[in-house]
Symmetry: D2
Subunit: 480 residues, 4 copies
């Protein structure tokens, strides 16, 4: 396994084409807006080195028998699924942000079983190829981005009906050596901190949509692939040299638009190409794993937010007010409900035909559906507890300013025993999580990551076996 330093150095060697705020980024690893997101990924390497966390962070490769980072592992049991959730909660607690690496883990596990089943039916060589790729990921402890979401254009039209056929990523040319793909994947978290990007289709496809039924992997510095960095709320505070104002100065996440501008993919990196009937399983499995993930990572971030709100109450002198105590209880209650859902869909998992373990699909969707709701209410309660100062306090520069600094020190003092600056730091952290850069992860990603709420509702309906419930009711009501 790589050390965090080795990981950072390995990234430094890549030559990614990244644009940010209208400029080409020359050294992403040291860019003050990008670096915090890199630090979050690096935490997945760091904790794997610490003895205290090794049982969660590492596991044994099912082939090589070697110890590997769990983010590169294929789940061998329901315990593995449970441990994944616990690992993600831990990382959320340590970074208070999106640490980006789970999307690759979820893609690997979804492809593992799907390539196996595709081969069973079509005698294709996908599983073997994928296995080879996986072996390298484990051995080299690679960070893999899983790219699913197409830009989609007009949502009321199918891929082929769009005014521009490229609005869903597709194969534009097939040669003896490989394929050429064109399109763009949106909302890509962690992409510029990754070594490889595994591409998957975005939704179930019809037989006539074969050119969109494509899955493959390429290195992130492949020719024709480039990235435009998304801007987050308050992103440029990281450029100001005022760490207090950032709230969480060390960690963060990012999202990019990844453009595949006629990228060549050699055949041995292709895992699905035209088998439209396996798109739906692939999409559902990836989404299912990723919906499970949120029952861990967002809970960890929630822990930090609950802690921050509690500190804000302490510092304000309101911690003993019954309504404040009650709101903190409510935050905990909601957060642990999410965790319960993450755990339950894991412990109820089952093996696939390929032998790896899959979450319980119904419960994973229920998990994510709650994630689209509770973090918003937790954030609202945090804002209630924090008080208005969270959004009306002046900048760190004013705090350091000769004329204004002493007045801010005097007038923003909370309880006497705590330095004013501590109070301001905690309020900025809450701002970061509810309105700032981390709100992108804690709010919007909770809403739309792994599919928007309606996507889960469709799955819940499909998975719920309503007919058997009707029979139960008929039996009780005496209807034959």
């Amino acid at each position: 396994m790589k050390t965090p330093t080795q990981y950072v150095e390995s990234l430094r060697k890549l030559n990614l084409e990244i644009y940010l705020l209208g400029e080409r980024v020359t050294n992403p690893v040291d860019h003050p807006i990008i670096r915090p997101s890199l630090n979050s990924v690096a935490m997945t390497f760091q904790l794997a080195q610490e003895e205290e966390y090794q049982s969660l962070m590492t596991t044994t490769s099912s082939w090589s028998g070697k110890t590997i980072n769990r983010f590169t592992a294929i789940h061998q049991s329901t315990q593995d699924l449970v441990n994944k959730v616990k690992m993600l909660r831990l990382l959320g607690q340590k970074t208070a942000s999106c640490f980006q690496r789970c999307v690759g883990m979820d893609a690997l596990n979804a492809l593992y079983s799907t390539t196996f089943e595709t081969d069973q039916k079509y005698k294709t060589p996908y599983h073997k190829r994928f296995h080879e790729f996986l072996r390298r990921v484990q051995e080299e402890d690679l960070v893999v981005d899983g790219a699913m979401t197409d830009v989609k254009g007009d949502r009321s039209l199918r891929p082929g009906q769009q005014a521009d056929p490229d609005l869903y990523l597709r194969v534009v040319e097939r040669t003896k050596d490989g394929i050429v793909v064109r399109g763009a994947k949106a909302h890509q978290t962690g992409m510029v901190n990754s070594h490889e990007v595994v591409v998957m289709p975005t939704m179930a496809l019809r037989e006539e949509e074969k050119e969109y039924a494509i899955s493959f992997t390429v290195p992130t510095d492949t020719k024709g692939l480039f990235f435009i960095y998304g801007r987050q709320s308050c992103d440029t505070r990281k450029l100001e040299g005022s760490p207090i104002d950032v709230g969480n100065p060390q960690y963060g996440g990012h999202e990019v638009l990844a453009i595949f501008d006629d990228v060549f993919v050699p055949w041995d990196r292709v895992f699905l190409c035209g088998e439209t009937d396996f798109v739906s399983p692939l999409v559902e499995r990836f989404a299912g794993y990723h919906r499970q993930s949120y029952g861990g990572c967002k809970v960890g971030v929630g822990d930090v937010l609950i802690g921050a709100a509690s500190l804000a109450a302490d510092y304000n002198g309101t911690a003993k007010a019954s309504h404040i105590a009650d709101k903190i209880i409510e935050m905990i209650h909601l957060n642990e409900t999410l965790y319960s859902c993450g755990l339950a869909c894991s412990s109820e998992g089952c093996p696939t035909a390929a032998g790896n373990y899959e979450i319980d699909m119904l419960l994973a969707n229920v998990c994510k559906q709650n994630v689209t709701r509770f973090p918003y209410e937790i954030a609202r309660l945090a804002e209630d507890i924090a008080g208005g100062l969270m959004v009306t306090m002046p900048s760190e520069k004013d705090l350091r300013h000769e004329r204004t600094g002493p007045y801010l020190q005097k007038y923003f003092k909370g309880i006497a025993s705590v330095p004013t600056e501590h109070r301001l730091r905690i309020l900025r952290l809450i701002e970061n999580l509810t309105l700032g850069t981390a709100a992108v992860g804690y709010r919007t990603e909770s809403m739309h990551g792994a599919g928007p709420p309606q996507a889960q509702r469709i799955m819940i309906r499909r998975q719920a076996d309503l007919e058997s419930k009707k029979k139960l009711a008929q039996n009780i009501a005496g209807i034959k």
Copy 2:
């Protein structure tokens, strides 16, 4: 294990003193108001006989190695805890009511570890005595009522401060042979369908409250013990001979006030007597197990209600309306969230000093807290889908009446393919669950059973380790 028939016959032999609607009940087993509740308990015997359900309904006794009903078992693993939840969901599905037997199971498991620990500290003989009792419960497949809730009088006063000291059950005399107890236990579900009643204190006690620190078991037909049957909404419909109006004509639950009017308890039936420091563990464990239980049983009842609402939509011709479909999805979502909580507190369980398994206390309280909310919303949605007819339709007698019957058949017809009577039956079942006898179980018991919402909130706060969350936030915010 007993067959259902053997169980019913064993009850027939008991000579309980029961009052109902102002009269002494002579033959409870055949009383039309009581019998449905007996049928629910009998289902715990019946399903244990059916091969399909044996893995859930039965287990192996840890001492005798014999197959026993899971309701008499001491949990040996987290899998046992998970299986308990699944068993309870199954029984909820089959009875659409409270089947009453879990309260005894939960009492047995709480006493198992608490008597062990009390003996460790005080060299008392409780665990051995309890074990002897347990052996008999398992061998004779007994139904045990767990009696905890005192009547409590003025809630702002401690037990000893009440105008009447009997408002909490207490020891009024100690002799060489045993003790004499006086008091009353309220809201006792399943009591008159039980062979034994295990009594426990109702809340943490102070050292000076020793006479209230008492746990023991007596047969339900013990001298001085008698029962006044609680009336449920719509209870007397069961006397009318109109099964449709009952909604769930075959199954039900009951609650009684159990009065201990100077009941003598021999020493070998006493499991705690004055050791006030073990009251709190006993109460919390029982409550914890019982809060877990609701993540199973209420989910099963919820399945029936979801099925009934879906049928109502089918029969009304509204099943394809998007808002109806969406409400059914929401019902499922909420119901499965409860189930997830029931599963998670089970799979995260851990062994006690005595060796049996306990649920995760935080998550069990989170589970129950959700149970105080979601069934109400599920019920509200069911009422929305059902339509007003559920509460405005005439009686079954009107349906059978020469003059009115044909008009009701004509005008209450829903979709052409379904008999009017089916529609009415389903609506009556929904009424039963949301307003009628079963609403006592599905609503009020969800609220107050195993402690009211505030009791869980206090536990959530205590279990949540807020200090560690504060440290996480300080780390992120850069506060040393």
Copy 3:
């Protein structure tokens, strides 16, 4: 104006055909199940006699200049609309149930403007006829039932597509003297306490559905018209002679199925007949007025429930617990939000072409939409505060029983200063409102009365002028 006694006597003279629990009711006025609902209507006469309430309960007829009961009035101003809401809240407070008379008031006001507009377009004589009827209603202080809801059969089919064309009330014959109608109106509140029934169509109709486009009035004891009484949760407790168990022994509501079995209606009682384009305005106006009504009556019932829950807390000794106080605040908050909606749609009302005042349609629908939600939450909170005893306490007969009475007096005592019986009475009242006969009005009617939630949502969408909101956003965003 009639005195309450005159009103009751006027009803006694009617010869209604009513069936209840499988029997023809011979003397409805004195029937113990029906009488409480009559008492509620009588309250609308009684308060009109009391000086304290005359400004709300009475007004001046716009034609005769005489003082009339407001329930028979045509709204002449927004103040009249506001006063209506206040009158309904008052009556809810005094009866804790549905007092049934507003449905007629709402029908009168809807027909007033609709007949006027129909005549304008079609030169029909409806408004003059209607005015004649209205004059009699005001002079004789009549109670009028407004009958809208058809039984509807298969909701996915139009009236004429049903297997049985009678599932929507329709004209089956037209003669020189009048029309013959056939069909049934469901969920009719107050029908058997009314002198007249005004019939309206149930939904917007297409041109080819002329025979369903019918509005008229007939006396409730008209030939061919008969009623089958709906059963409410706990209805038969009123037959037991145990007033405590009833909860609200004096007041109640009722719903019947009203069957029009080829009823002849003379032309001078017909207010719409085939003008399908005026069905939609008529339905929307009636629904609008009735959705406003709920912002008054349910708030009044809510006041009683809040008072009862507060007393339960007092009697339990929990009134000072912060979580209890907070729940009562929440109940008040929700209740007053409903009231605010009732007031706002009234004060924003506007005159119709006919000169009477109409509520603001958007806000009236918003009002009712909240009514489909908040009473459920208020009820849930009441159940939380009340405690489990509300549904587990024995019957009044047990309280009066020689053997059990003293024990119940002893063990159900709350705080020392309050008689046990008071506590039980309040708990039964809460049961009545949340699960019993009054729950039909407070819960289900709040849901479905004046149309189910989805009906309001459709109106909200239609009334909201989304296009102008889009323009606002475009202006701000700089989109030309």
Copy 4:
């Protein structure tokens, strides 16, 4: 009345001491961060000039009979109160931000009645002084900031118990000519766009806290008074020259910390000084008026957000999906519920002893309590409808960049008929309102402005007359 230009020029003449991002601001009127907030206030002048809006924006002075801007008026009727709410909604729609001027209007109306009553009791000259000030405000069409919220230090301690007595603004010296005050007022919206600041105490005071019982007015450029500008989420985007990224490039709000560093106030500008028993009425009335205000302004902002979300759905091609339509309905429903509360507390207003009109206090608090909840849910639904692109799209600079621009145009295209840029503008506007600068107003200010949620709950409890509700319940339950 001033034109917008005159207003801006009048501000330009002031010499305010303002600090922003660590620097003294030399020309606030033209500062790109401050100017949008000035534009919002200027809108209150502009609309007053437009005929279409004059009935809402202007009224007649009760003394001079001249037409004045409603923001400077004393409410003479409930219609005035209603018109205030409608005016605020209008301004919210036109600015999509906090336009800041209502706080002064609310302060003026609260002081009007309170000074009158203080004089009645203490024969003080406050009302006359205040009247003189008010005359000038009306004649010169001044913008007045109302400053209430002290910084408060340790919330568990009274003002005089704080480690630093200045944490509540207080009188530090009294002279023949006036008083000297010291302290700071936090969260001051609109301060640097105001001509005058009216100071009031922050909470009810005890007799021994006389030096804190102070109300007065000073010009905003008074000696010793200076301002530190609060930073908002995304504030510096206004410095980037990329209007699209700002979302709402033209309008905004601001908050400052206002420091009174031994400011001298001549006696004729003092409106309360030591009469502690009139602090509570003053605070409650100001808070009451301001809680009413939110039932207007936030509704107007909500209209823009609903419009933006609808456009986002149009541009995404999802507008016809039933779940999207339903979410928009829900947004409208919640928004109109807020409006209903704003209207109801206005139309139910009543005259004070001084003759001006006050809102209904219970309903105004209910209004604000809903404002602490519904905007959060409206924002959540907007984020759901918008999709993830709202937070992951690159900067406007990338859109204008030679290499990346064409790809962004291609891949962020929604429906074919709408330019990509329109879609991006609308998403940025939604970001602005839910996460950006305007979220400070739409979320946090909705929560804490005019007092946090708990402040309203205390008032709701106090205003609700629980005892009368208990009597209603006792009457129904037959308890004498």
